[in-house]
Symmetry: C2
Subunit: 411 residues, 2 copies
């Protein structure tokens, strides 16, 4: 007997018919003798309808009341799945965030989970009861108000609840059948991985693989919750395997590079001939940080004359205009000659725990990319990944080149 | 400065546009310096949509999960109204049943209110904050589960919250502009009353006047909450008057008869030649009570031969078939010769506190009805009302006759 969390997203619960299919997945695990907590999202489309009401009601809306309106979507799904399970003869009870309780901070609309009290759900297990938990929502302890975790927060809920009830595994049912070595829509030779380490998955998710929320991987890593990504569209009575995200020790044969990720959501900004003196980087990046603009890759070249320098960095596409606006206003204060921007860029990353012990992994990539005529605009590296910024038009070529280079192509 | 509860039903909050109109009503009272708690229903149509999901999910549904799904409708409205108010510069906070808390018992789907803790809402008043409360829902203290009060429960919520926060008045905004001496759609000469006593309103509501839930009037009477029924379609800046339901002492000039109500939802059942012995009434009515069938008027004639009797009574139309079925199965046990039923009957009632001190009030009615050729099938009386059961075809004639007889016609 194991204790499981099963998480189903909006498309998996988009109608009562699909909720009944989800119930069949739950039944399979219950029949196998497992204790089960299910975490559900709002029915697909409902959240957008509710957000539409909110923006109609008030242009600059109070995020505390936004949360009240939007959290109602998950409440409906959790009640409906509990109804279907009870109707199938499987004892089940719905749990809203405030009932669990799942405590979150009061950053309404994008709250962070503070603590999950799993005792109520565990008491239900003792009575052979399935817990059906509304994802995406929590409650702020001091005010007693409903908070939501932001888009995709149901993954985060699921992993946090798995940690809170000390589950043996958290199964994330989604519309793909696992984690691939790269995007299979772009590279047909991409392979589904059987296992991937928390650290690698964290980099993959951060670098553009959209299967899992970065925050959910962080929580899984910290609390060591084995997390299994699998398809909700499998036959419930005969499901396929997926990808297990787990501790690196449990992965026997380490690849040097595990996966290739890419992101086209970045834009590049270059400041030309910035005065090369102490504090200049702070002068550029502090105002951006104050405006909550997330700067990623930063390249600063030492200037030839020793008095000026060029600074290049990337920001998310959605924040490009704001960033340019802020820097243009501060032109005299920072002291640069010209601002150049490029929106048509992409970031390609290679991720693998094996990089730690293998020298020259990134150098091989730079050579292979240059042989294909791909110009590298910027480079960043970390212990288990490196990223290159290139012209967006070369994204697919670069991803395929690195995927082959590191032996990830399907036979 | 007064402390007010304002209640708005589903049609008054059917769209974001209408919710903005409701906010204008609230603004008027806030600008006048009052402390305001608003109680709202789900947007018109939403509850039916949610109930549809529930019945699709499970034919015999778990009422505890029904409550979870259906209560989400009020949650959306309360959040939206708080958003609109905040956007208008009026500080407001939404309150779900569990946040107030409004404690109810665990008769899920038709729970009764046990207690309202008004301290949180009152603390909000001290901070000049409008409370926007989800009607229709509460929480069961022992289990922490969401309960709903049944259809029309928002009126009941409003009056209970008014009692819990010791409000000076509870304003029920509805689609009519007050309580009439009888149904104005049937009798054009019906008049809107300025005031009516709790006791009379209780009988009017019980006898078919559908403006207010019977339970809400009971709570208003017990806790002496002056309740004001008025139109939500008035100009928010220049509203009309409505009807105040209040203690009889505050009504200076008592009418003998205040209003005429009618109901076409009743059906009549007669058992012929029942053995006239002790315990026979119990033999008929206990099985019906056990089946939760609500018996209203009962007439038992003493038989000529002294050995048998005829028993006539009414049951709600929705329960007619079940009642006939039960009594047919018990024919030998009860010991009657024949069962006769009539579905095409109506109950007409006259209500007035003045009946207490005026003899012969009902007798005048029987005479007037017989002069119009209306046959009275059964009669029941209480301290402040009497009802007659007649053929349904004569309903309008009977209502108009009694309305004129007691001087209620508009000049």
């Amino acid at each position: 007997m194991a204790r499981l969390v099963m998480k189903f997203g909006g498309t998996s619960v988009a109608s009562v018919e699909r909720i009944k299919n989800v119930a069949c997945h739950v039944k399979r695990e219950v029949d196998a003798g497992h204790e089960v907590a299910v975490v559900v999202s709002a029915m697909s489309g409902k959240t957008n309808e509710l957000v539409g009401y909110v923006t109609d009601a008030a242009k600059l809306y109070d995020p505390r009341e936004y949360d009240v309106v939007v959290a109602s979507g998950e409440q409906v799904t959790s009640g409906l799945l509990a109804l279907v399970l009870n109707d199938m003869g499987i004892a089940a009870r719905s749990w809203q965030g405030w009932q669990v309780p799942l405590y979150a901070d009061d950053a309404h609309g994008s709250a962070r989970i503070e603590n999950v009290d799993g005792s109520g759900i565990i008491a239900g297990f003792a009575a052979r009861e399935v817990a059906v938990v509304s994802g995406f929502q929590g409650v702020h302890k001091a005010t007693g108000r409903i908070t939501t975790l932001g888009r995709g927060g149901s993954d985060t809920s699921a992993v946090a609840i798995a940690a809170g009830i000390k589950a043996d595994r958290c199964d994330i049912y989604t519309d793909v059948d696992g984690i691939y070595t790269t995007d299979p829509r772009m590279v047909p030779k991409a392979q589904r991985m059987d296992k991937v380490s928390f650290e690698e998955m964290l980099e993959l998710a951060s670098m553009g693989a959209k299967v899992l929320q970065v925050r959910s991987v962080e929580i899984a890593m910290v609390h060591k919750v084995p997390t299994y990504v699998r398809s909700s569209f499998d036959d419930p009575m005969n499901p396929n395997t997926g990808t297990l995200i787990c501790d690196e020790e449990t992965i026997v044969e380490q690849q040097v590079i595990t996966g290739i990720a890419y992101s086209k959501d970045d834009t590049e900004i270059t400041l030309r001939q910035v005065a090369d003196k102490p504090g200049v980087a702070a002068g550029v990046f502090m105002p951006l940080a104050d405006a909550n603009i997330n700067v990623d890759m930063i390249v600063q070249n030492i200037s030839e004359d020793g008095r000026t320098t060029d600074i290049t960095f990337t920001v998310p596409a959605a924040e490009y205009d704001r960033a340019v606006d802020i820097l243009t206003k501060l032109k005299d204060e920072i002291g640069y000659r010209a601002l150049q921007g490029a929106k048509d860029v992409a970031k390609v990353s290679a991720i693998g725990i094996g990089m730690r012990s293998h020298a020259g992994v990134a150098a091989r990539a730079f050579k292979a990319l240059s042989e294909k005529g791909i110009n590298i605009r910027a480079i960043t590296t970390s212990e288990i990944k490196f990223s290159v910024l290139i012209d967006a038009a070369y994204t697919e070529l670069a991803v395929r080149t690195l995927h082959s280079l590191y032996g990830l192509d399907k036979a």
